[in-house]
Subunit: 273 residues, 2 copies
């Protein structure tokens, strides 16, 4: 998907909501377990309930891989459903892949060529040649880990490294170096909402790139602070919510609660658009 | 698999060879394409031809994911075959995963709980809580990326960071920090053979941990230098070869060439054991 289409979607829906499909058989309403593919049936209901308020869906690959072959079938069905029924909605494989060049090419083939995701999350540790193969697909996006929302982000990402222009945190070097590999039209960054103090700084380094922001809600980040700290003239944000939306309800009428949770977030977002 | 069993295998076989199963339909002998599962049938032949000389197999996940559902079926069959016929051989999911804690737990479930790999490669960028869930499985191993064999390893891994004891390259901080999370019995490091100048240094930092060393052969590293630079009293190395072994032959009798390639590497290795 092109950047202009994504920006248009955000304006039309007055939303920058990304719904994370972290689907867990132990957390979905019990009646889904009667289906032959409970994960897909649940995803379908969540998607239908939230599509009006949502500009992106982000299946978290680990949750599908944990169910083996059946999990991959559920993921493929979910992607087929999204690409057929909601082709205008942006899709993100939250896979955090990254390997030497010839291997990253195969991951790109898996997520872009085969499953037709619009974007994939990529880990930067292995450097340029591990990221470039993903950037070679026309109309597809890399979402590179910069500063994540977990405690462990302090172990390495915020460590100061000696750079030409003086000491720089690792995440900043990751952003600055990778801006030489991709453009605001094919490269975004993951920046956790729980790192508010860093959001403004990152927006200064990368004024035009989209930021994918997890951690609003369940992990404690504030939407207002995210927009104030990191919004740009096109907004330039995708704010993700997973558990807070998809597990908003239980029982047969859970879809109403899921829809309400998405509508509430969209309503808050609309005030910034 | 316990460390003592792995060490015993290495002594018995006089080998520290890991064969990388980077199976690519465009590179395997043509006659396999007549099978319903060419990837598994090829892997089976490679495994049978090399098992006498090999202490570990390392399927590269990207090559399986690139074929979608069928790829995952081939991988599952390969693992079932290995675990049934060669249970004493160490198995590594070369997956380079790593995510926030609850997500890493699901990846651990996928590779340890479901597929019964002995080890999984993990990327360190997200820090401690992204690695710990993999370390919680009894008898299973994390192989953490430290210093990889590709050009992009210079982008971040070798950058100097300001640490308490003075400037330290990032890969060294990764090793030192992670040695607080795991032990030589459940944690290894990936160190590329193409980084010979660093091998001795890494062995000083981590005298007891196993190192998984890619890059000997196809990528230009020398076995002798690897052993001299990074061998310890138990040897403490797994040296990986992928393309150099599995694509050593073509045609109907390719198995003979594959076996010879593995035997040659084992013969060189035996002189160090």
């Amino acid at each position: 998907m092109k950047r202009t289409e994504l920006v248009r979607q955000i304006r039309q829906k007055k939303s920058f909501l990304c719904v994370g499909l972290d689907t867990d058989l132990e957390k979905i309403p019990e009646h889904f377990l009667d289906y032959s593919d409970p994960i897909f049936e649940f995803n379908k209901c969540v998607i239908d309930a939230t599509a009006a308020y949502t500009v992106a869906y982000k299946p978290n690959l680990a949750f599908y891989e944990a169910y083996g072959l059946e999990g991959w079938e559920s993921l493929q069905r979910t992607m087929d459903y999204l690409n057929e029924k909601y082709p205008q909605i942006f899709t993100i494989a939250d896979a955090k892949r990254g390997d030497i060049g010839n291997t990253s090419s195969r991951y790109a083939e898996a997520f872009f060529g085969r499953m037709d995701f619009d974007a994939v999350t990529v880990a930067p540790y292995m450097g340029e040649d591990s990221v470039r193969p993903f950037l070679e697909y026309e109309g597809k996006w890399v979402i590179l880990l910069a500063l994540t929302s977990n405690k462990g982000s302090l172990d390495f990402q915020t460590q100061m490294i000696s750079d030409e222009g003086g000491p720089t945190p690792l995440y900043e070097r990751v952003i600055r170096r990778s801006m030489e590999w991709g453009t605001p039209s094919n490269l975004m960054y993951v920046v956790g909402a729980t790192r508010e103090e860093y959001l403004t700084h990152i927006r200064e380094i990368a004024p035009e790139h989209f930021l994918l922001v997890p951690g609003v809600g369940a992990q404690g980040g504030s939407m207002e602070k995210v927009v104030q700290g990191a919004g740009n003239k096109e907004l330039g944000l995708l704010v993700n919510s997973s558990r807070g939306i998809i597990y908003a309800g239980q029982g047969k009428d859970f879809q109403r609660d899921v829809e309400n949770a998405a509508r509430l977030m969209q309503a808050e977002m609309s005030s910034y658009l």
